[in-house]
Every structure is written in C-alpha cells, then in structure tokens.
C-alpha cells in the first residue's frame, strides 16, 4: 500500500477519533472488499463472511483509539477479521446440528470418456465438490492455516500470531491439512 493510500486511512482514523463517526465509512469501503474476501475464504460462506466483517469492523472501531499505526490500517483490520472468521468457524463446529459432510455420503465416481462434453463438465463439478468436502473435513485450525498460507500467502509467523498459536503448531496444522486432503483426494487422481 502506498503512502498516499495510507494517508487516506490515517486521516479517516483521525476524523473518527475526533468524533466524526461517519468517517469510518471510508475505512469500511476501502478495506471491505479485501476483508470480505478473506472472511469468505475462511468461513466458506458469503453470508457468514458478511457477518464476520461487520463484527470485525465494529470491534476495530471500539479499539481504534489503541491503533498505534505501527502496521497499516489494512493489515490491522485484516488480522482482526481473520481472527473473527476463525472464531466463527470454531463456534459453528461447536454448534449442534452443524455437519461438515464427508465423502461417505457422496456418490461413487466413475471415470468417463474425457471427450464427452456434458459428462466431463459434470465430473469436473463433482470433483470440485469433493475438494470442498475435503476442506470441510479439516479442523478449523487446519483449514484456516491452510487458507492463510496457500491462498492468502501469509507467512507462518503471521499466521501463528493471528491465530494465537506458535509457529511450530501452525506448521503442523498446515502439514496435517495437506496430508488429510491428499488422502481424501487420492482416489480422484486417476479421474482428472
């Protein structure tokens, strides 16, 4: 983020701290898309992502006076949002009635002729669905750490810091995530 962009953030924060609550909209609109994207990546649901971002922005607003400016406003909001999204996923798994879904209840896949258009498309869709199911089979820590490392391309240290776990535990979580997904997706290899 360039200096001019950070300057816009700083002015908005100063205005909010001076009592102009409406100035907070500047931060919401500037960083909202990035926050929604990462929240949806972690929660896997657009509606949940919206709730998470609203909650994170409210939390950030309450803590705005303690924002030191050492990090950029964007990365500060990003961290709060990731934490809220992670908590949301964790609480969802604790809720009765929530089901991640497993490959056990998915239909058997059979290889089809690669040249068959509609069948091939249907197969691709099914494969994508299996991959999503494999992600849901991970623990919330594994899933979030995987997304942050391989999708958001955050460093191990940053991920550990945001999720409140050590670097070693973070590495292990990503490690397990990939191993689990490889196991679950192994039967699909020949179908690609």
């Amino acid at each position: 983020m360039n200096e001019a962009s950070q300057s816009v953030d700083r002015k908005a924060i100063e205005a909010v701290l001076a009592g102009d609550g409406a100035a907070y909209r500047v931060l919401v609109m500037r960083h909202g898309p990035m926050l929604l994207r990462v929240a949806e990546r972690i929660t896997g649901d657009a509606a949940d992502a919206e709730d998470v971002v609203q909650e994170a922005l409210l939390k950030a607003y309450r803590k705005l006076a303690s924002f030191t400016g050492e990090a950029t406003a964007g990365s500060w909001l990003y961290r709060i949002t990731v934490r809220c999204a992670y908590d949301r996923v964790a609480s969802r798994k604790r809720s009765p009635g929530w089901s991640a879904g497993t490959d056990d209840d998915a239909p058997e896949l059979e290889a089809v002729d690669a040249s068959a258009g509609p069948e091939r498309l249907a197969m691709a869709r099914e494969l994508g669905e299996r991959e999503r199911r494999a992600m849901h089979g991970l623990t919330e820590l594994e899933r979030t750490a995987f997304v942050l490392r391989h999708v958001e391309e955050q460093s191990i240290a940053e991920i550990g810091s945001v999720l409140g776990v050590g670097e070693s535990a973070t590495k292990q979580a990503i490690f397990r995530a990939v191993q689990k997904m490889r196991e679950r997706l192994a039967p699909l290899k020949e179908l690609r």
């Binding site: 909010v16 657009a46 919206e50 409210l58 939390k59 607003y61 191990i156 590495k171 990939v178």
Partner: protein, 272 residues
Amino acid sequence: MRHWSEDELLEMVHGDGLDAERTRHGSECAECRGKLEAMRAEVRTMVAGLGAEPAVDVGALERIWAGLEPQVRGKDVQRQRWFGWGWGLGLAAAAVVIAVAGFYGGHLWEKSQHQEVRAVPVRTPEEPQRAEEGKAKESAANAPRPTVVVVVLGDHLEQSEQLLVELSHPEDAAEDPALGRTARELLAVNREYRERSGKGAVKDPAVERALADLEPVLTALARPNGELSKEGLMALEEKMHTDNLLFELRVVRTQRPKQVMLTRMTGKKGDA
C-alpha cells in the same frame, strides 16, 4: 543418496527451506524435483478446489455499513478508550434522567441478589418532612424515597449486543476489567425492564423473551466472584448459546423502535 522424504517435500511446498545439504539434493536429483513439482500441483489443485476468488458484492459493503452506522455515529471513541463502553450506558442514561427529572439528586438504585447493582439513580432532593426535630435522622432513614428510572430499550439492547459480541472473543473479554461491572449495570436495567413488562407496561412477547434469555447470561457475568477467565467465558458461551442470543437481540432491535422510554417511580426505604 537419500531422497527427500514426504515430510521434507511438504516443508518445501509450504515454503520452508530445508538445510543446505538437503536442499542441494534437489539440484542433483531429478526424481525428487519431479515429486516436488507434483506435490505443488496437488496443493494448487486443493486451492482451486476452494472455488474462484470470491466476488465482492458491492451491496454487501453497503449492508455492512448500514449495520455499523448507528453504532458509530455520535459515539466518542476517545471516551471509550478511557472509560470503556460500559460507562457509556450509565453516563448517557444519567444525562437523560437529569434532563427529565432535573430537581432530583442522583444515587444508585438497584440491588442484585447478593450485591447492590446500581444504574441510573435519581431521587428527590427534598427529604420527607420531619415531624419532629429529634426524630429527624430516623425518619429520613426510613422514609420512602421516590426513584425515577429511565431506560431506553434500544440502548439497552445495543449495549447487551456489544457485550455478547465481546463474549464471542473470550481471550479479549477475559482481559476487560470492566466486563463484570458492565454486566451488573445491564442486569439491573434488564430486571427493571422485565419487571415493567410483567406489569403490562410493555406488551411485546419478542422483547420479553429476548430479555428473559439475556438475564441468565448477565447474571452469570455479574456475580461478584464470577469466573471471567477465558476458559470460563468459553464455557459460558457454549452453555448458554450466546451466539443464538446475539442473533435474537439483533432481530429484536432492528424490528423495534429505537427510542422506547420507560419510567418508574418507586418508594424505597433506606438509602440506596
């Protein structure tokens, strides 16, 4: 020559380098380089399986702002910095009370089961007439003291929501020194509101239900020796399904008028 193990391959995929000797092996072994590329391709497939980059719905940002705006407009963040938002309720309500009942003096008004819980206190500065000079102190102590309480439903629900949002982050909530005090203030107001609802002053089953659901949570947090550690708060969150309660309060608040004022005049004995 020892080939890269699967663990080493994974470490390479995650972007962690191996030590110099093991890394050098990659430059000498085409088989291991091939395995590494295959595993990287697998991870790319996993990432692709998450779906395309989420498209940001512009309407979502407007909805988020619409939800935030009432909570940020007119709120003084700097004051929250020093006093915590829990004080906001007391100060704002006290200001309303002073305006409504200017000639009353302030004092605290509510007691919880084991501890006095005080919210928006007002009573007449004029003590009951003393019948006799020699009995003045005793009379004053025993005389009924009218109390006016003003509760703004919208504010109460909003502050309760904020408390529940805070509870959803137990590690932060456990560090909030004002949590117990805020819960006690809200509990006092909640009881007041429920008492009035029971007398038919407010006929809204949804509000009554929400306040009834809220009360055990506030009671648990307001206990003088309540467990406000991270683990205690997590247990409370799970036991009382505070996520569901938060949703219930949001629905009630957004569907009800913002400004509902409730007043009460009571005569209580003794000082408060």
